[in-house]
Subunit: 317 residues, 4 copies
């Protein structure tokens, strides 16, 4: 596709240099539809605090709970409103190659700057199948490959990534296996973002990672920016570890969803199968916010515990 | 929805002043998917020749043959590539109120400047039902109501339009019933675009119409611009009448699709139930082009007759 | 497709002999989803009273307000529950050839006995396009072609029907243009069902029609059975004319939906753009029921006027 | 939902007694659509050889590569053609609760006898979330819960299953964790099917499992029937182990798809991301068939190696 404006002309090189990418939360209205006003606020606060890219509809953004038309609409909306200020990376991956192809075509057509692609989770496939799957989408535009065996049930081995480097569209890898794997890649000239907030400081400063694709930056974008740009800072990193541990005690984005509701920046609405953390954990979060400092967190309201009854859980939307 | 960039802040007033709006053709690849590269060229030639708005996925653009996700993607794509240079009006109407609501929400979310809404064709409804239907979508943004009884089987009477004027979002009416109806509206301060290319010159200069939503401008945008901006010009208007008659001898966009393929600006691919005009009619078109002047038509190749075998008709896509 | 049970082996001949086919109403739950329990009751009362076929998701059943997956599900459900007792004719027509192909394949796969196909309403096409459209689906199984220009904006002329008779799957035509047209077909050996309840008695006994595809039979199936099977009966026919006139004063199924709610057999839930008849008209219906006799109508509750507040109108479902 | 025919009145008890359930393969036409004729043959051969239930659109049947309308259509088709002869269990599970609710409603509406439900793979959730997810669908009809952590990345612990036993609709568990886990359940009166073909003989005769939900039975239904019904038979079990090992050397259904194509009962068409086993492995399969005996395998053609070029891999369908 050719277009007559410039903003879509993103190359893999434009993606490779991003240090702080936030896997942005998708907030909901009480009937389960997107709360685009709250969403726009969330994105804006990322821009203001120095995030350089966002993942739209990642696992954090609950792309797995969207219909594809919602998902592409959200990508298009984000490009339209913020595409000049932040790189918009659409999670157009799927365990179905057909869906990945269709969504990636549509995502690039509405202007996303890059695609995030997961290996086929749940259904899985052979190594040859992995390569065929990724080859089906790599020609479309800049692409980040996402490896998270704890979700997919299958590791993407370095041999597969090595094969994919033949495409100029491969921007790099979001890697969750650990910093040794990251070191292997960066030692071979492959760009990597840490997918683990607890390891990202070390990944960045000790193992060659370009940066992080972060969940925690939804809450404390300024601190995450500092950790990625400000040089080695084990003190600051240690300071946020209790928060990171709290966030990931249950499968993400359960902790994040709970926290953002407590901070008053999203309505306390959950699409099932996600449910909020229980009362005790919510009390812990209030304490964590006070320890780190409310001013480092997004939003301007007082952090609240919230009652169980404040939460709306939705199965039909 | 609130956004942090300005380009979506379109008001009904911004729409009311448009004189030349083109109901843009959607071109296809041989497998029936959108040919976005050809599409971008078509839109660009409209911009270059002075069209001020386009209808995306109208009946001319074959919205009725799109899935909604294709349709919204095309709106988002158009906004993303051309939204700064031309007003993008999405045909997010439907005979199903649910679909009209859903598509309009998504269309405005991806940045369309206005919506075009048809009354419920085929299924039809009562006058009270018409008002309920339009009320369901008018709050979302600037809206043009489209009246074409020859397609819908039901006229939208002036009483319904009058009721809808209570909404500040009503930009105006695309009216196909004729110039007397147009005069009635414009006499009452309601903005109208003629939906009939054969009547639009008179509508504009004699009956108070603001302009035209045109099919013919896909072919000769410069002449249509002149007819809408250049003052009364019955000679020029008469000159194009044979072309207009040729275009509408079969239900639109059959003539337009055939013509654009002959002009070499789109591939000769038809989504069924549309089929090309027969050979004899195609020979007539070549003659018409020569009479009006090739230079007034879009594209730069020689106009061709094309063989029957050149056309690809697609039912599964 | 081959299957190992017999029930799907329906031929066009099995369809041609049906005299009373009801275009069955689709009832809704308060949230707009199908009320399958009420639906099953409606179908059962048709079987008990001698209807031989039903149209699922016709314009009366509001197929135009269904998503295709709902529509196919309802066909499959009906086949599964009632396929041994009544012929299930799925309205898998569309103005998009792609949709008509996809829906017809799926409808036959889940066991429908025949398809109802409309010409491309709203978008319309040429006569060659009409033939191409119908040819795309006729090979799949027994098919009834539906002609209703007042909805589609385009008459299917006899020449097109004549061309389609080359397919052994053409069961016949549902014709709404009038009894002279019906006579033309039946004189040429083409099976026809009247699509106009006010003309069906004469069509059956005076113009050669095989029977009727009826809306009114949703209300008084026994009387409609008598009119189709019991021989010429102008007295009975005249007796129901005030009811038929009442039913079609607004676009169908507005009257039917209102009436069935008043009879207590469906919840008073309307999917927009349909809205109930106003109070005065509902009072008339109560009177009509008393004149014809409550015992001839479906349901066992007293007929009620209902308050405006009793009705639920739904745009999002 | 109430219906007037009996065949849908399936209780969890009717499911609990099934010993041999086949996770049936979905075969494709060269354009990637379902090959329903081949499918019907596959189901029929299961019935003839004594399978008592089939899983439609499981991971083996590649439900993860279907659109939901395809998936529900296939369930409806299977019920319609074979519902009187074999229990039809639809895999209407999803990692999205909304999708699981919608698909299960539709699946039961078209007559499936039971639903198979997976925990939310990839997105995952907390234990409370798991219970909420399953509670959203358990009320609809007989349900089998499916635990396969190697695919989902998350074990369903016995505590969750114990909670679900409060529903009379819980038919049992398809368990892939191993025979000790199975023993724990069967010791507590919970029905279990082994989800591992290599362990199912022992599960059935040594650990209390009711039976198996099998992949291998697609190939050798008679032998699997014997293993589940004929009493302890370690010799027979040992005889098929090389085949089972071959089948699962790559993520299922890669081996099965390859084998069925080699046996000539399905076309060699793969939906990506699945690709066939390489030539050397296909040669091994021919040898395995000869060792076990061609007559024990489905189909009647000679087993073939097939060339790489014989296979069609499809990403767009």
């Amino acid at each position: 596709m050719r277009s007559f404006e410039m903003k879509n002309r993103t190359s893999a090189e434009d993606i490779k240099c991003l240090r702080l990418i936030t896997a942005i939360k998708t907030p909901y209205l009480p009937d389960g539809r997107f709360d685009l006003e709250a969403y726009d606020d969330l994105v804006n606060v990322q821009i203001v605090n120095g995030a350089e890219g966002i993942i739209v509809g990642g696992t954090t953004g609950e792309g797995q709970l969207m219909s594809w038309d919602e998902h592409i609409m959200l990508i298009g909306h984000t490009v339209n409103c913020f595409g000049g200020k932040i790189k918009v990376i659409g999670n157009t991956g799927s365990n179905s190659t057909r869906e990945a192809i269709h969504a990636s075509e549509q995502g690039f057509a509405v202007g996303m700057h890059a695609a995030l692609h997961i290996n086929p989770y749940y259904g899985k496939t052979s190594l040859n199948g992995l390569v065929s799957h990724f080859d089906s989408v790599l020609s479309m535009g800049p692409t980040i490959i996402y490896n998270v065996p704890s979700r997919t049930g299958q590791d993407i081995p370095p041999s597969v990534i090595q094969t994919l480097t033949q495409s100029a569209n491969l921007a790099g890898v979001k890697e969750c296996v650990g910093n040794e794997r990251i070191k292997h890649y960066t030692g071979n000239g492959i760009v990597v973002w840490s997918g683990n907030d607890d390891q990202c400081h070390d990944a960045r400063w000790g193992f060659g990672a370009t940066g992080v694709i972060s969940v925690t930056s939804n809450l404390i974008p300024g601190i995450m920016r500092e950790l990625m740009f400000g040089g080695k800072n084990p003190t600051l990193n240690a300071k946020i570890m209790p928060l990171v541990d709290w966030l990931f005690q249950e499968p993400n984005p359960i902790g994040l969803n709970t926290a953002l509701a407590q901070l008053g920046v999203v309505r306390p609405v959950f699409r099932l199968p996600y449910v909020p953390l229980p009362l005790g954990k919510r009390m812990e979060f209030v304490k964590l916010v006070k320890e780190i400092g409310r001013e480092h967190f997004v939003g301007e309201k007082d952090v609240e515990v919230l009652d169980d009854d404040d939460f709306i859980l939705i199965g039909r939307y």
